[in-house]
Amino acid sequence: MANTSTKQVQIIYGDATLGLRGEGFGYIFSYERGGMESLVQHGKEWLYRTPKPTFWRATTDNDRGNGFSVKSAQWLGTDMFLKCTGAAVAVNDQPIDLPISPENNQYSDHEFADHVTITFTYETLTVPVTTVTVAYTVNGNGDIKVGVAYHGKTGLPELPAFGLRFIMPTVAKGFNYDGLSGETYPDRMAGGEKGHYTVDGLPVTKYLVPQECGMHMQTAQATVIRNRTLDNTDHANHDFNLTFKQNGQPFAFSCLPYTAEELENATHIEELPTPRRTVFAIFGAVRGVGGIDSWGADVEQQYHVSAEEDHSFSFVIQGV
């Protein structure tokens, strides 16, 4: 990212984490949890658990009909149990030895940089195995550039989706975005009209059997609005936001109260649990939904997501 900021980011070389702080923000990256553990802006926590790459979508009726979920079932396990196998840190683009103890004894309580990058590597639970990296680059404004890269491997079944999933501590009040109207997919977005849209709450499309829903293709920016935290000292209920912006290419996202697995397990919408979190998933690759029939016809070839090819995407979480 171009260094247009004169502000510097402070680095806390912790024993289990890497802390990155600045005016109005504080981020913690956990080596143990394998990802970003805390994203605080203006005193409000945005993460419930570390964001992880996501590969699954709740089976659609068409997926069930054409056996796609069966063929790609390995990705469900990976989506749930993905393991982090490594972390690496670079300061001002210069790689450093992983700053855990005693390596971190060389640092002080006033370490600053223009920007810091921490990259996590994840290993899939597929046969064969492949890897995904997620790199977070933070500058003095608290902007986080996120780069997600999937490494294709011959022999892997097609991907239902490829993205990064953020689970936020409380249910959002709503979200707004610059993109296409309604719920869109790669093979169903011609009718989406470009614009700025505001969505109240976290609506789950009420398909008779809960399934993949709520995708927004071709998005330039999405802002999640919350007004509650889990902090027992925080009694405020004013709105606070987190904004995701495109970095080069537009992205796809969904903002729901459930993970794909939670949706997958319900046979009716009323079986879904009481909404407690916000599941904001941002995607670099989305499989089409298909529509020729619901008992065997495949999604058209150009809307498949090959797992044998590389996929990568990038976006920015806006700082303060």
């Binding site: 659609t60 009726d61 068409n62 009909g65 109207s181 309604g182 719920e183 869109t184 997919y185 790669p186 093979d187 169903r188 977005m189 011609a190 009718g191 989406g192 009209e193 499309t205 009420k206 398909y207 008779l208 059997v209 399934q211 993949e212 829903c213 009716h268 919408i269 009323e270 089409g288 939904v289 298909g290 529509g291 020729i292 029939d293 619901s294 008992w295 016809a297 999604v299 058209e300 809307y303």
Partner: protein, 632 residues
């Protein structure tokens, strides 16, 4: 007097007893004042609360309940119209292709596997054939009492009904989705009358009413009495065609009058345009038949989707003294449907069908739908550039056809026929016991369905196509239905999907090539391989759950191949039942299998562009976009 027989339920050759012949659906009024109110004094509704007794099977039914002296003290009540299942008597059930008795009762259609296999007792003694005994009293309204003949109209009773008035047997009807009419005059009393209907869930009609839908029973559409004056327009055939120049209206009219002996009078026929300007006026003596042939009107305002212009026809019947005794209004349009160079044309222009298949559905009441539901559906059509509807897979509420005339919706008016359980076996084509097939014993029943569909709806400008039914394979009987339409109507084309299932009949059962769910590439193969007929997707873009991806590939065919004429998305609205969650009490939508109903096809009923509660699915914006590219 004829004695009703329970064995009629088992006999495909008995499907109407003492029913009046089907006729046009024109409404008739006593006077201009009557007409102005829109409420005919010559009709009397029998909708509302009826006495009701439910029996689990025929042997448990209250035999003789129709007798005035029968003790009805243990009868419950039910609303008419309402399904017995929604009322809580019968179990809700959804199933697609297999018959609703799958896994419970072994049945083969009478005669399908041999002339000696008559199916005696199959339904009349069927343990799953529950029965509703309906009963109510009425006293004729004064206006009706003065009329010559009193007829009762049942707009929809599923699936077989016996009728009594004041203890006397009147008649029997099948065909759940067509109007059944009976003459009550001989049995009427001046004072209170007792009308009784015994409705059976099953009869041989079950084999040909195997539509992919919730399986209901009971009186599910309106019931009314009508009083017919001494000279009554029994039937009318209006033809508003166009001459070859496509600007001159070619109008014909044929009235069949029911004239009481020694009653004379006149019939005035007038036509006005939408602004009330007179175009035509003629008065003729009231004979049994009155005809106007090929009356030409230059430069008529054509009817089409984008401008559904209707003219007002008015037939006024007067007696010898000049007193008006009946007025029949009917709006019609001038339009011409034809096949030219293997392309279907409307008013000389290629038809592009931006259509939907539409089951009648209301989440609260099943196939009992309101005018409000229909209005909302038309509003959705308009907002999303939908220009055509296939009445899948049965005749709809009569009002719908009038509303489509007004809204300019191209209709594919389908017969009540679907027998896929007799030839589609777990996805495979296996017609070993297909009905109607070429079985003579089933022929009249299905031809009668074609006749009813034609006779009732023949004057609706919106109907461009008759459809013989859905997924019933092909044979001589379906060819006979086609022949009926060809004999009676040269102003419309005939559609049948089964044309692709049994090529031996392809020249006898459909004017167009029709397939369902063919991938765009397969359609393209047909279109580039010296096609015989234009192509229509009678069902495509199966919108089950989160679907409707890839519509562009169908859309591209429209500009590329003139013989590709669009199609009907499957389908308009999810079928799901609104009920209370047994755990939380909240209002929820439930589908097949949610009522302990087995064998089931579960959520397969949820294929709509609309959710069952008539809110739109997200995919609708895609339909609006692609259908909007070819507004015609």
């Amino acid at each position: 007097m004829m004695k009703p027989e329970l064995s009629w339920l088992d006999d495909p050759q008995t499907f109407r007893v003492n029913q009046l012949p089907a006729h046009s659906d024109h409404r008739f009024y006593q006077s201009d004042t009557d007409l102005a109110t829109g409420q005919s004094q010559l009709t009397q509704t029998l909708d509302g609360t009826w006495q009701f007794k439910f029996a689990k099977q025929p042997s448990e039914r209250p035999v003789g309940f129709y007798a005035p002296d029968y003790d009805h003290s243990d009868f419950d009540t039910i609303t008419v119209p309402e399904h017995m299942e929604i009322a809580g008597y019968g179990r809700l059930k959804y199933i697609n292709t297999t018959y609703p008795w799958e896994g419970k009762i072994y049945r083969r259609p009478a005669y399908a596997l041999g002339k000696d296999q008559k199916g005696a007792g199959m339904f009349s003694d069927g343990e799953d054939n529950y029965v509703g005994a309906y009963l109510r009293t009425f006293t004729l309204d004064p206006a009706l009492r003065q009329q010559q003949r009193i007829v009762v109209q049942f707009d929809g009773v599923e699936e077989a009904m016996y009728l009594w008035l004041n203890g006397q047997f009147v008649g029997y009807a099948e065909d759940s989705f067509s109007q059944s009419e009976f003459d009550l005059t001989p049995y009427l009393q001046d004072s209170e009358n007792l009308i009784a209907v015994e409705v059976f869930k099953r009869s041989t009609a079950a084999f040909i009413e195997d539509q992919d839908m919730f399986r209901f029973s009971g009186i599910f559409r309106s019931v009314r009495l009508v009083g017919e004056p001494a000279i009554h327009v029994q039937d009318m055939r209006i033809i508003g065609n166009l001459a070859d120049d496509l600007t001159t209206g070619d109008f014909s009219l044929k009235l069949k009058l029911n004239c009481q002996p020694n009653v004379n009078g006149t019939v005035k026929v007038s036509i006005t345009d939408a602004d009330g300007n007179g175009l035509f006026d003629v008065t003729k003596a009231a004979n049994d038949e009155v005809e106007i042939n090929h009356q030409m009107f230059p430069n008529v305002h054509l009817w089409q989707h984008t401008d559904p212009y209707l003219y007002q026809l008015k037939v006024t019947v007067q007696d010898e003294q000049g007193k008006v005794i009946e007025i029949v209004p009917y709006k019609f349009g001038f339009r011409r449907v034809e096949m030219k160079n293997k392309i279907m044309l409307l008013n000389g222009k290629r038809i592009i069908l931006n259509g939907v298949n539409r089951h009648e559905w209301d989440a609260k009441s099943g196939r009992v739908i309101s005018i409000e539901d229909m209005k909302q559906d038309l509003k959705t059509f308009k907002e999303n550039n939908i220009n055509a509807v296939r009445t899948c897979h049965y005749p709809n509420r009569i009002d719908w056809y009038y509303m489509c005339d007004e809204a300019g919706i191209y209709m594919m008016a389908e017969n009540n026929l679907e027998s896929h359980g007799t030839w589609q076996k777990m996805g495979a084509v296996e017609p070993s016991y297909n009905v109607p097939g070429s079985l003579s014993e089933w022929r009249e029943a299905v031809v009668d369905r074609a006749r009813s569909n034609y006779e009732v709806f023949k004057n609706h400008t919106a109907i461009l196509f008759w459809s013989l039914g859905n997924e019933s394979y092909a044979g001589d009987d379906i060819a006979a239905m086609n022949a009926f339409y060809k004999d009676h109507d040269d102003t419309r084309l005939v559609h049948y999907e089964g044309v692709c299932r049994n090529r031996a009949y392809e020249d006898q059962i459909s004017d167009m090539e029709s397939m369902m769910y063919d991938p765009p590439k397969e359609i393209e193969k047909y279109l580039t391989n010296n096609p015989k007929k234009p192509f229509v997707d009678c069902e495509f873009m199966h919108d089950m759950g989160n679907s409707l991806g890839g519509m562009s590939s169908y859309d591209e065919l429209i500009d590329k191949y003139p013989m590709y004429q669009g199609g009907f998305i499957w389908d308009f609205i999810d079928q799901a039942i609104e009920t209370k969650d047994e755990v939380t009490g909240q209002t929820v939508l439930r589908y097949g299998g949610d009522f302990d109903d087995r064998h089931s096809d579960y959520e397969f009923s949820g294929d709509g562009l609309m959710f069952a509660d008539r809110t739109p699915k997200p995919a609708l914006q895609e339909v609006k976009y692609y259908y909007g590219k070819h507004i015609n």
